[in-house]
């Protein structure tokens, strides 16, 4: 019976999500003029759902202080208060408002993940495309260095680096970004390799274009689809890395609310069937699914398959 009820609610959630996604697409298609509108009209519902979720997250992140009834660090009541009108989602182990922390968590988590991923991509794709464009010894050196870095397990490596350099948000971002950038490098290089053999690159070289122009104007725009797709995945993995680091006692400094650490802080409750830890985990999962739905759609458009 319990299974049936759960299935029922899952079905309800999926239907509501679909309906919302569809509606959102219609709105976008009508609201946006010309080409952009047409693009959205042909988008699948899953992509609409994804964009809607991302939009909501962004709004929540930006408007966090306006939405959250309490501050993220303020102790406002007893521990583990149940859900009620004042504390929509109850309170956590220190008596802080769960809902407010989730809302601020959106800001912190999404912000940190975005900065980290952006940095990883800046570093990884610039070097990767550089390796592809220049080739020769530079490519060899960079590729070997990346091979070496990738052969060290990421979690252990970040553990080492964070212990050496401390666990401020800045080092956290830098360490995860550097480790992630090795993965981005690989992708960017292989995508770049496919592009540099194209005639227009040859034409640009013969024109006497400099490296900067070659990479930024000629290669990068054509490598953007797979890079953006990877961005989506990596973006989500940053939460997981932070969460795993929290598990090992590193991670984001309290009392800053971030979903990864919040999962860790409340995880024990799941042992007793309490769903509180599902909330931050669900926030991460929903965003991951949403981002990837959008990414899938973009990849699909880029691949030219019309199905």
């Amino acid at each position: 019976m319990e299974v049936l009820t759960t299935l029922f609610w899952i079905a309800v959630a999926v239907s509501v999500g679909m309906a919302a996604g569809w509606l959102f697409l219609r709105v976008l298609a009508t609201a946006l003029p010309g080409r952009a509108g047409r693009v959205f009209r042909s988008a699948p519902i899953s992509a609409g759902f994804g964009m809607l979720v991302i939009l909501i997250y962004l709004l929540v992140a930006i408007l966090a202080p306006a939405i959250a009834p309490f501050s993220e660090r303020e102790v406002v009541g007893g521990q583990f208060l149940p859900w009620d009108a004042t504390h929509l989602l109850g309170t956590d182990n220190l008596g802080r408002d769960m809902f407010s922390r989730l809302v601020y968590g959106a800001r912190n988590t999404v912000g940190i993940a975005f900065v980290t991923t952006a940095l990883a991509f800046l570093l990884g794709s610039v070097l990767g495309l550089l390796a592809a464009a220049v080739g020769g010894w530079l490519d060899q050196v960079l590729s070997r260095v990346v091979d070496v870095l990738m052969a060290i397990p990421a979690l252990v490596f970040s553990l080492l680096l964070l212990t050496i350099f401390g666990t401020s948000v800045v080092t956290l971002i830098l360490v995860i970004a550097v480790i992630d950038s090795t993965r981005v490098f690989r992708l960017a290089r292989s995508v770049g390799m496919n592009i540099v053999v194209m005639d227009f690159i040859e034409a640009a070289r013969l024109r006497g274009e400099g490296l900067f122009h070659l990479i930024v104007r000629e290669i990068l725009p054509n490598a953007s689809a797979p890079l953006i797709a990877e961005f989506g995945l990596r973006f989500c993995f940053v939460f997981l890395t932070i969460s795993a680091l929290s598990f090992l006692g590193l991670g984001i400094q309290p009392p800053t609310a971030d979903w990864g650490s919040m999962v860790k802080e409340n995880a024990v409750l799941i042992t007793f069937g309490d769903i509180t830890p599902l909330l931050p985990a669900g926030c991460i999962a929903l965003l991951t699914v949403a981002v990837n739905f959008v990414v899938d759609w973009m990849l699909h458009r880029a691949s030219g398959l019309k199905e």
Partner: protein
């Protein structure tokens, strides 16, 4: 020759097919009727975008992703393919209706041996057992005049040459002895000399098994050899249909006549250069290659001011490598390139910006030669900005001027992406980009071979005009002798990295020829429906004669 007394095999009535674009569904085929009798070969002809392939595939009840049949009926041997279930259609495909694709190299699965792909059809359709099918394959390979018919099936596609693959694919299409084969431009990707063998093999086997065929091509001379009847398509609509000889001798429609007339452009002969004139570009004793392999052996030729030198040869002859040596992409092992009598640094990276500016290149595939993410403003403007330092208004004015020069309306085109252009327009943009540098020498690498003949003709005329206006010298790399005839002043014939013959065009097209030049020239299809038969007979005779001589 009339087939009308034979029973009807395929009848398409008022077929409408739509394709999905970002603007929604757009019609591709707008109500075409088609009737094909048993054993009859119908030629479908038209330019790209005419809907030839779409129609050909519809004959199999198949539409590509993003297309759908919106109206009409397709009746194959009494079965309505539009209404039939997918399962029924699938059981017909490969067994009773087969398909031969344009690029055999791409259409053979690279992961499996030829024989495995051959037997798949008969086995899955339960026509024969695997052993029977393998035996049958050898027989058909033999009939398709493939070398080593017993063994060739055990090779992977990449181990077999293009012409052989195309024949193997025809054999594969024949594997279930279908009633109908759709040939979709089966020889377009082949060299002329190879094309002849494939055409002959296809013609014979279709005749032997009395198979009906739809033969899709844009090459009139080819279709003339293959088809009993010809249907001309234009933008999804039928222009006219007639028996081959009638169609060739007296086309009714203006459009058809214009197709027929394409090959008429011939550039006016120019005075020969003075013997002491310094050539713009000289290729001097160049030997070059990749890795340890030499691709070019001691290549020598000159290109004079305001002249067009056509470098002719089949794939692998070293034409494009020569271009790479001249541009500096491939520094030669020996020899050098002179520009205005002065040696150029062998590597483009050592050349000055001015030297780079003087030599520009136009590529065969405009699709890959234009950065798909840049608008024409930037694509064309970039060289002008780089070399000539133009900025702002002046730059924009120059881009507009160049667009007008290549006959594209500036206001309409300046902010388009390459993907929003047709093939011919893209090639024009390629030209404009080369011209933006204000070069003196332009290398044109197969610039027309990916284009329809009408479009190609437009490009050739444009290039011809610009040569006069802008004082340009061209090196024209091509495998198409018609192009040579149309535009060249001088011809360089290459084979296996060597120059076998060179001289002014008029001398080249006049016998006696080098034997290779002779082979090339004779392989160019002619509009005469009997040309292939006659040529084969002559070659047979020649061979017999040679044997007799020996």
């Amino acid at each position: 020759m009339s087939e009308t007394d034979k029973p009807v095999l395929l009848r398409m009535r008022d077929i409408h097919i739509d394709g999905r674009t970002e603007e929604g569904w757009q019609p591709i085929i707008k109500g075409v009727d088609l009737t094909l009798h048993k054993g009859e070969v119908l030629g479908l002809i038209g330019e790209s975008g005419a809907g030839k392939s779409t129609l050909g595939l519809a004959a199999m009840g198949y539409t590509r992703d993003g297309c759908r049949i919106t109206g009409g009926s397709i009746e194959f041997d009494g079965i309505d393919l539009v209404k039939a279930t997918e399962r029924t259609r699938r059981s017909l495909r490969g067994r009773r209706i087969a398909y031969v694709a344009q690029s055999a190299a791409a259409s053979f699965n690279p992961a499996h041996r030829l024989i495995d792909q051959y037997v798949e059809g008969p086995v899955v359709h339960r026509v024969m057992s695997r052993q029977e099918a393998e035996r049958d394959a050898v027989e058909l390979y033999r009939r398709m005049r493939l070398p080593n018919p017993e063994e060739i099936g055990f090779r992977y596609p990449h181990q077999v040459s293009g012409g052989q693959l195309q024949r193997a694919m025809t054999a594969m299409a024949m594997s279930c002895r279908p009633d109908l084969i759709v040939f979709d431009e089966p020889t377009t990707a082949l060299d002329v000399t190879t094309q002849i063998e494939v055409l002959a093999a296809i013609r014979d086997i279709v005749a032997q098994f009395d198979t009906a065929a739809i033969y899709i091509t844009h090459d009139l001379a080819v279709v003339a050899q293959m088809a009993d009847r010809i249907k001309v398509l234009l933008r999804g609509e039928e222009v006219e249909e007639a028996d081959t000889r009638t169609m060739l001798s007296s086309p009714r429609e203006e459009y058809t006549r214009s197709l027929w007339a394409v090959r008429s452009h011939v550039s006016p002969a120019k005075p020969r250069p003075a013997p002491d004139a310094v050539p713009v570009v000289s290729v001097r004793a160049v030997t070059a290659g990749y890795g340890r392999m030499d691709v070019l052996h001691n290549v020598n030729f000159d290109i004079h001011r305001r002249r067009t030198v056509a470098v002719v040869g089949e794939s692998g002859s070293g034409k494009s490598t020569t271009a790479r040596v001249i541009t500096g992409l491939l520094p030669p092992r020996q020899g050098q390139i002179l520009f205005d009598g002065q040696p150029l640094p062998p590597d483009y990276r050592q050349r000055t910006r001015e030297q780079l500016r003087q030599i520009q290149m136009i590529y065969q595939m405009a699709d890959t030669a234009l950065n798909p993410k840049l608008r024409l403003r930037d694509l064309i403007g970039r060289p002008a900005r780089m070399y000539l330092g133009l900025k702002g208004k002046a730059l924009e004015e120059r881009v507009r001027e160049l667009l007008r020069l290549i006959e594209l309306e500036p206001n309409e085109f300046i902010d388009r992406l390459p993907s929003e252009l047709s093939g011919g327009q893209k090639q024009r943009v390629g030209i404009a980009r080369a011209l933006a540098a204000e070069p003196r020498f332009v290398i044109c690498d197969e610039v027309t071979s990916a284009l329809d003949q009408l479009v190609a003709e437009g490009i050739l005329k444009l290039l011809d005009r610009l040569q006069g206006e802008l004082d340009l010298s061209y090196m024209f790399i091509t495998h198409d002798l018609a192009t040579v005839r149309a535009i060249a002043d001088d011809v360089v014939v290459m084979q296996n990295g060597r120059v076998v013959e060179q001289g002014p065009k008029d001398d080249m097209f006049r016998p006696p020829h080098d034997p290779y030049t002779e082979l090339l020239l004779s392989s160019v299809p002619e509009m005469d429906p009997d040309w292939l038969t006659r040529l084969l007979a002559e070659r047979e005779k020649g061979k017999a004669g040679a044997a007799a001589d020996a």
